[in-house]
């Protein structure tokens, strides 16, 4: 074991050198050499949000809202389809997880059945990459009553699709705020994890993400509500007006300063406007190409928007056919304004006014530009760390690491003397390698990760201790110095492997099931174990071999 070929020595030293180079940016970055480092493709360790400050938000598609939307849509489709076929129906309404409708005349049931089957709405299940279609609804027929129920598999597929769409929309919205370096990704089946580093005001983001931004241009019904809670005529739906919503919210905030929205019940109790719901009378925000925050002739902030060609044509037709009548601009179920159509608007652009502040029009423009969310998103978890706490944590972590390193290094000198220096050298290289690997692979350093590093400090010397104690034992049992060293390394290897593999198992489980910071801990622990194996059995061994070769010791002084 004492003979090392030249290339092997070079390989080992090269690995150590590579580790030093990879770890270097962490030392140079604070000195202002980041440009030099990036030029060579080197970067310091990525800091977790708990160290640099920032927000971690976990959102989930609101299942109830999604169900609701699907039911609404299906009801609209049933209405349209049966009307086209001139089939009389009644009792169109929601059930717990679907929609039911009854055909009036028995002779129409067959025709209705054929038509309604077309509405089962296949969705790509995405289970296999080839794309298997599953139906969103199942249809059962009891005589002349048809019952649509939401299919759980189809619903899951729909949720998955909604998540993808929502991620896209969120990306646009957050980037619209000018926040860079945010990470938005799917987590598990129905969740979106949003990480925004260094954000000072997560509440604005939360508000921004909270609105679905479903925009509709709908004609007002000829007849209008006379009192709250009065029933709208067929093909009309009741929506509250923004002015009354704002007033009510202001009133609510007098008792509850944090109120941001009104409950559904509160909204229903407000004065309502009736808007037409038939498709011909509606243009929706999906056809917008642009939205900007500007000012109108009275210098109040408004949102101006542009339609794409399809939207422009539909909007032109809607306005041309209804000159002189009022139409409503409905955003997320609230009528923003209801201007009269003075002339056909063929240019495909318009304005939304409605007593906004500049910040509101800004955010509204962002949300409109990014499109509507497929369903409401609920914040299920939020973790925010302020920048000062993050900085304190780094400082504390650095102190703890240095203190730990000094303690452990001094402690190793006491029983082992010269051999302790070898162990200490290995320990330092171990740390450098750990930092280098973390930096190179872009593993994120979190606060628990720092704890993992400190723990590695303690456990890393274990391999050396095992080897040394073994060498010592062999020596005391009468073997020659050379033999003792050789056996010591050999015998310790299997012990160290067994001991470390078990820790590695724990680390992998931690990584597999943990989230966020816990994962950070698992990563440093796992990387630490690997670098420890290297330093103990490759580097320490090389150093000892070099020493043995040079001094040819006749006794072991351990």
């Amino acid at each position: 074991m004492f003979h090392y070929s030249r290339w092997r020595v070079l390989l080992i030293l090269g690995t150590v050198l590579l580790g030093i180079v990879l770890a270097l940016p962490n030392a140079l970055d604070p000195l202002g050499y980041s440009n030099v480092m990036t030029r060579f493709g080197l970067k310091p360790m990525t800091l977790g949000l708990d160290l640099q400050g920032g927000s971690n938000i976990l959102m989930e598609v609101d299942q109830k809202d999604l169900t609701d939307k699907l039911q609404q849509q299906l009801m609209g489709d049933i209405r349209l389809s049966l009307r086209e076929q001139k089939v009389g129906y009644s009792g169109l309404g929601k059930t717990d997880n679907g929609v039911t409708v009854t055909v009036n005349k028995p002779e129409d049931t067959d025709k209705a059945s054929t038509e309604l089957k077309k509405l089962l709405n296949p969705v790509d299940s995405g289970v296999l990459s080839v794309g298997t279609a599953v139906n969103l609804f199942t249809l059962t027929q009891n005589g002349n009553q048809f019952v649509f129920a939401i299919d759980p598999i189809g619903f899951d597929a729909k949720t998955a699709g909604s998540i993808k769409q929502a991620i896209h929309v969120i990306e646009l919205r957050i980037n619209g705020l000018g926040t860079t370096e945010s990470t938005i990704q799917q987590q598990g089946k129905g969740r979106i994890s949003i990480q925004i580093p260094g954000l000072q005001d997560p509440d604005r983001v939360k508000t921004l993400l909270g609105s679905t931004a479903k925009l509709n241009f709908q004609l007002l019904c000829a007849e209008q509500a006379t009192a709250p809670n009065s029933l709208p005529p067929p093909d009309c739906a009741a929506y509250p007006q923004k002015e009354s919503v704002d007033a009510k919210l202001l009133e609510k905030q007098k008792t509850d300063a944090t109120a941001q929205t009104l409950t559904d019940a509160e909204l229903k109790a407000l004065p309502q406007m009736w808007v037409q719901t038939s498709r011909q009378a509606t243009v929706d925000g999906a056809d917008l190409t642009d939205a900007q925050s500007t000012f109108d002739q009275n210098n109040s902030p408004v949102v101006s928007f542009k339609f794409n060609q399809k939207g422009a044509v539909r909007f032109g037709k809607l306005t041309a056919d209804n000159v002189g009548k009022p139409f409503a601009i409905v955003l997320d179920g609230i009528v923003q304004s209801a201007p009269n159509i003075n002339e056909a608007i063929l240019t495909g652009s318009g304005q939304i006014s409605g007593r906004f502040t500049v910040e509101q029009t800004n955010d509204l423009a962002i949300t409109l530009r990014s499109g509507a969310l497929p369903a409401k998103l609920a914040i299920v978890e939020e973790r925010t760390v302020g920048p000062t706490l993050g900085a304190d944590s780094i400082k504390a972590g650095v102190y703890a690491s240095i203190a730990g390193l000094v303690f452990v290094m001094l402690f190793m000198l006491l029983p082992y003397g010269f051999w302790g220096i070898v162990a200490d050298l290995a320990l330092i290289v171990n740390l450098i390698l750990l930092v280098g690997v973390m930096s190179f692979f872009g593993f994120t350093l979190t606060l628990p990760g720092i704890a993992g590093i400190v723990l590695t400090l303690g456990m890393a010397v274990d391999s050396n201790v095992l080897i040394y104690e073994r060498i010592r034992e062999e020596w005391r049992h009468g073997k020659s110095a050379m033999q003792s060293i050789e056996t010591g390394f050999k015998a310790a290897l299997s012990t160290v492997t067994d001991a470390n593999v078990t820790t590695l198992i724990a680390a992998f489980v931690l990584f597999g099931v943990g989230s966020g910071p816990v994962r950070g801990f698992a990563i440093t622990l796992a990387v630490g174990i690997v670098t420890t194996m290297f330093t103990a059995f490759v580097l320490t061994r090389l150093m000892v071999a070099a020493w043995v070769k040079r001094y040819k010791p006749k006794e072991i002084n351990l």
Binding site: E382, G386, Y399, L455, M459, V461, T495, A499
Partner: protein
């Protein structure tokens, strides 16, 4: 080079661990029973990770008036809000209980507390805020329990493959012992039990195993080498011969962890405390629980030695 190394553990110790282990079992049995009782009746001080709600860390400009803040915050109708000193007199941690009835309510509660704080304390700094909804906390609880179970199971299989089943059982029994005692201690002192404590427990699992495996490795080796030695003596001999290593490594690890405890900052203190306890218990259990269990389980000599011995006796070989 003349260096007189300091031996922390004298050479050739001949401590009769197996004889002492009866007291060890007795002591551990009582402690585990107490731990389980504590867990059953007092329970753990679950953090928001497992029970939902919000945790807000603030820093006030002057020393925080805890009583005033506590009174005011408990008057805003969000249930019983807890306040704790968190490091310096200016630092306070506020625990808002789960509101239930949907995730939006948790968010609203968090906002309300922060607004109230801002109106009570001029220039208050929100250092961190965590809000976990009911569904997520439930999942985190399941995941955490699953993680501990799963890692123990994996370890059981690994050791089974590398050693004999008795060794695997011995390791897992000492492991469960460590986990139970750790949970008992957390229950006793009311340490906040959160995700990072789970990470600590899993690391305790790893560390305790590390220690146990080193002892086992030596037992296995001696079983091959000293075929005629009686098992109790052999285990005593094994533990004694790795004792210097066990002590050195445990002390080195403890030193690093103490540095973390004292210099690592308030946020990580609970975690480092859990780890320190884990190292102490893990070292103890590898000597007084794991190895003696091998005798109780009647580790068969013939499996580990090459001698063919048809005797299938499971009796204690003492």
């Amino acid at each position: 080079m003349r260096w007189k190394p300091i031996r922390f553990v004298p050479d050739d110790t001949k401590i009769h661990f197996i004889r002492v282990s009866r007291f060890g079992f007795f002591l551990s049995g009582i402690l585990c029973a107490v731990a389980i009782a504590l867990f059953a009746f007092k329970g753990l001080n679950y953090g928001i990770d497992f029970k939902g709600g919000s945790e807000i860390a603030i820093r006030t400009q002057g020393p925080a008036q805890l009583d005033k803040l506590r009174n005011e915050l408990n008057n805003i109708g969000l249930g019983s809000i807890e306040l704790q000193q968190f490091g310096s007199p200016q630092d306070v941690k506020i625990l808002v209980p789960a509101q239930g009835g949907g995730d939006a309510n948790e968010q609203a509660a968090q906002l309300k507390v922060i607004d109230t704080l801002k109106s009570l304390e001029a220039g208050v700094e929100i250092r961190s805020k965590d809000t976990v909804g009911g569904k997520v906390s439930e999942e985190l609880t399941q995941q955490a329990t699953g993680a501990v179970m799963l890692s123990i199971l994996f370890v059981l299989f690994y050791l089974w493959a590398r050693f004999e089943w008795q060794f695997a059982m011995g390791a897992v029994i000492s492991l469960l012992h460590d986990v139970v005692l750790s949970i008992g201690l957390f229950s006793l002192i009311g340490l906040e039990f959160n995700l990072s404590i789970i990470a600590a427990i899993l690391t305790i699992v790893g560390y305790s195993l590390n220690d146990t495996v080193v002892v086992f490795d030596r037992v296995r080796e001696f079983l091959r080498r000293y075929k005629s030695m009686n098992l109790a003596d052999l285990i005593d001999f094994s533990i004694n011969s790795v004792l210097p290593r066990t002590m050195l490594t445990s002390v080195a690890t403890l030193m690093a962890l103490l540095a973390l405890y004292f210099f690592g900052g308030e946020v990580i203190r609970g975690f480092s405390f859990a780890m320190i306890w884990g190292v102490v218990v893990g070292t103890y259990s590898s000597i007084f629980i794991a190895a003696p269990v091998l005798i109780l389980l009647g580790t068969k000599r013939e499996i580990s030695s090459s001698e063919a011995n048809p005797e299938k006796g499971r009796g204690k070989r003492r």
